[in-house]
């Protein structure tokens, strides 16, 4: 506890928490993972950024840190997310457009140039090729003199939700989950400050799910990774404290708050009762929150500033550990620097002006919020029971089966269509879209544009790396990747570290892995 007295704007002293137990910091952590929550430590203001070349994004990173951002979060472009080099034919038109292009260790080095990797925490939103990008980050740090054990950050590395929602998968589910557990094993042994998986509901929600589906599918995926890591030989308490979560904060305020509270309670109970975790840290669900990109409107985009602020407030009321606020221009393009600054400032208003950070779980005890928490938990438990039955007593097998049958995508598509029908029929109001539309036809503000020249420049950078490296060392390292990949119990990380350190490209490594693992084509459900 801090010694400081917290007072309202009018000078009334307030306690750290109100109500009877279980209190925040007490099992099952419904009310939060820390006893005094934001009094001792505010959430991390972690703004997601990435566009153009590594140098372009490095400039934005430095701006965000100068403006008071307290963590970094990297958005990669589509070719990088899909494990393709910038000069691959599929990359045409997409290099640097929706994130930053990273083909080799050299790009990763430029991305974090001048930033002390021993001092910041970095989140990387990458899934299919996640262990390769992790290897690049480790190599960059070590080449600059920072040991891997000092690195703090998060690898999204949540492949299951890709098959369910975001669709950025490379290989079939089972070898992909092996890659996830390889990263868990590696960081558990060598990177104690690293979160190897960020189990993500965000993308499930963005794909059109309901809050209850987001909660249920995400936690089911979390349980699946626990089962997979235990099957790979780890004890649950060795890795579970470093699993983290990532949720969406949508616009229905109390539903969102209830969702975050239910998530903590479910996780704590399942980890203790089903998976036998005994370390308190294994039971505490820690999460990052991002406001709902899907709720942003292209019509009257300034109104999004209000939506984002309210959604951010729900995340804070729900006890998030870290927060990204969307920029108001994101329904139109990647955010401009000014729009990103306004979004960060909105968090700072919540943190420093509104007083909501003075008291832990200030909505706890509200009849409505407690009922909503219970109701969302009940709905999630129905989904777990369904998946458990599908998997014959294994959530991991249940999730695989429901991916294979298209159950997840079907459920999400139904929810998404239902919502669109409601908006279309006028049963749901979206300000500026189907009501209050005066002003919706005004000119669009200035947008961030990434031109074709970025693609040309990035291809030149890639070409320069290819010309200056030792091709024989690259070939040898890639054949080790292939042989280690073919050996299901061998951890791939050492081979990946070697390959990227001799400047094998992302696309080269992925092609080798595809040769062993194969590729995945989804069963189309419309």
């Amino acid at each position: 506890m801090t010694g400081k007295t917290f007072r309202t704007l009018s000078g009334i002293p307030v306690e750290a928490v109100y109500g009877d137990g279980p209190l925040p910091g007490e099992f099952p952590y419904t009310r939060g993972v820390h006893p005094d929550m934001y009094r001792s430590r505010l959430w991390t203001m972690r703004m997601f950024a990435g566009f153009g070349t590594a140098e372009d994004t490095n400039t934005r990173f430095r701006e965000l840190l100068r403006s008071g951002g307290t963590g970094l979060s990297t958005a990669f472009d589509m070719p990088t997310l899909m494990g393709r080099d910038s000069d691959h034919e599929w990359a045409l038109g997409e290099v640097g457009r929706a994130g930053v292009a990273v083909d080799t260790v050299e790009d990763m080095a430029d991305l974090f140039d001048g930033i002390d990797l021993g001092a910041v925490s970095t989140s990387m939103t990458i899934n299919g090729p996640a262990p390769i990008l992790l290897a690049m980050y480790v190599v960059v740090a070590e080449e600059s003199g920072v040991e891997r054990s000092r690195l703090a950050g998060t690898l999204q590395n949540d492949i299951l939700k890709e098959y369910q929602a975001q669709k950025e998968y490379l290989f079939p589910p089972r070898p992909s989950v092996r890659l996830v557990t390889d990263a868990i094993r590696f960081t558990t042994a060598e990177m104690p400050r690293w979160n190897p998986v960020s189990v993500s509901g965000y993308h499930i929600r963005e794909a059109g799910s309901t809050a209850a589906q987001e909660l249920a599918f995400t936690l089911a995926n979390g349980f699946a990774y626990v089962e997979a890591a235990c099957a790979a030989g780890l004890s649950v308490d060795s890795f579970a404290p470093r699993l983290s979560f990532f949720f969406n904060s949508h616009v229905d305020f109390f539903e969102e708050v209830g969702k975050f509270r239910a998530a903590r309670r479910i996780w704590a109970q399942w980890m203790r009762d089903r998976y036998g975790a005994t370390d308190e840290r294994s039971l505490k669900l820690r999460f990052h929150t991002q406001t709902a990109g899907v709720s942003l409107t292209a019509q009257q985009p300034e109104v999004n500033i209000a939506r984002v602020a309210l959604q951010a407030l729900a995340g804070v009321m729900g006890g998030t550990q870290s927060l990204h606020t969307d920029s108001h221009d994101e329904a139109l393009a990647l955010p401009t620097a000014e729009a990103a600054r306004i979004a960060l400032r909105s968090q700072q208003v919540i943190a420093h002006e509104t007083g909501v950070a003075s008291v832990a779980d200030p909505l706890g005890g509200s009849h409505y919020v407690e009922w909503m928490t219970d109701e969302l938990e009940r709905r999630a438990e129905e989904v777990f029971a369904h998946l458990d039955e599908l998997g014959g007593g294994s959530l991991l097998e249940g999730v695989y089966a429901a991916i294979e049958s298209g159950w997840f995508v079907g459920e999400i598509a139904d929810a998404s269509y239902r919502y669109e029908r409601e908006v279309n029929a006028g049963d749901r109001i979206v300000v500026g879209v189907n009501a209050f539309t005066e002003g919706s036809d005004s000119r669009q503000a200035e947008l961030l544009r990434i031109g074709q020249e970025t693609e040309d420049l990035q291809c030149q950078r890639l070409d320069a790396v290819r010309r200056s490296r030792d091709d024989r060392a690259v070939a040898a390292s890639l054949s080790r990747v292939a042989s280690d990949a073919a050996e299901p119990t061998t951890n791939l990380l050492p081979a990946l570290l070697e390959a990227v350190s001799v400047r094998a490209t992302l696309g080269e490594v992925v092609e080798v892995l595809e040769g062993v693992f194969g590729t995945y084509v989804e069963r189309t459900v419309v």
């Binding site: 589509m78 070719p79 997310l81 899909m82 393709r84 599929w90 990359a91 045409l92 038109g93 997409e94 457009r97 929706a98 890709e162 975001q166 669709k167 950025e168 963005e206 794909a207 059109g208 899907v294 409107t297 292209a298 019509q299 329904a331 139109l332 393009a333 990647l334 598509a413 998404s416 269509y417 669109e420 029908r421 908006v423 279309n424 979206v430 879209v433 189907n434 000119r443 669009q444 947008l447 990434i450 074709q452 989804e522 189309t524 419309v526």
Partner: protein, 135 residues
């Protein structure tokens, strides 16, 4: 096409972008409006789309792009269809800034449907593209 047979529409995501929520909603809207929807889904190339248009005898192609690649990929699909001798209109949906619409129109793209377009606008956009195009 003959006057009373339903419009046949090929829907596809062109490129690497995997955001398919919007395209799936559009598929259901068009189907509910009586069209025949050939849903190709994710990660299509200009070649796979042209093949589908040819084999399915489609009247119109709907392409969804949220990857900011429309100025590069939009004209390419129009050209690829023309090169294959297919006189079929292309409608692009997704995140397309207003100022890019003229460039796409100049490149031969028949229509653009932006974020939040209501169902009637989506249906009308496809019908208009078919009605005003070609032969």
């Amino acid at each position: 096409m003959s006057g009373d047979s339903p419009i046949r529409v090929v829907l596809a995501k062109l490129g690497l972008d995997g955001h398919d929520r919007g395209l799936k909603v559009v598929a259901r809207i068009l189907r509910d409006a009586g069209m025949e929807v050939i849903y190709l889904g994710l990660r299509q190339t200009t070649e796979t789309i042209v093949d589908a248009v040819e084999q399915e005898d489609a009247d119109v192609v709907g392409i969804s792009m949220l990857n900011a690649g429309h100025l590069t990929l939009g004209p390419r699909i129009v050209d690829a269809l023309a090169d294959a001798g297919l006189d079929v209109p292309v409608v692009i949906g997704g995140i397309v800034p207003d100022e890019d619409r003229q460039a796409l129109a100049d490149a031969g793209v028949a229509g653009v449907l932006g974020p939040g377009a209501p169902a009637e606008e989506v249906v009308a956009g496809i019908r208009d593209a078919v009605a005003t195009h070609g032969w």
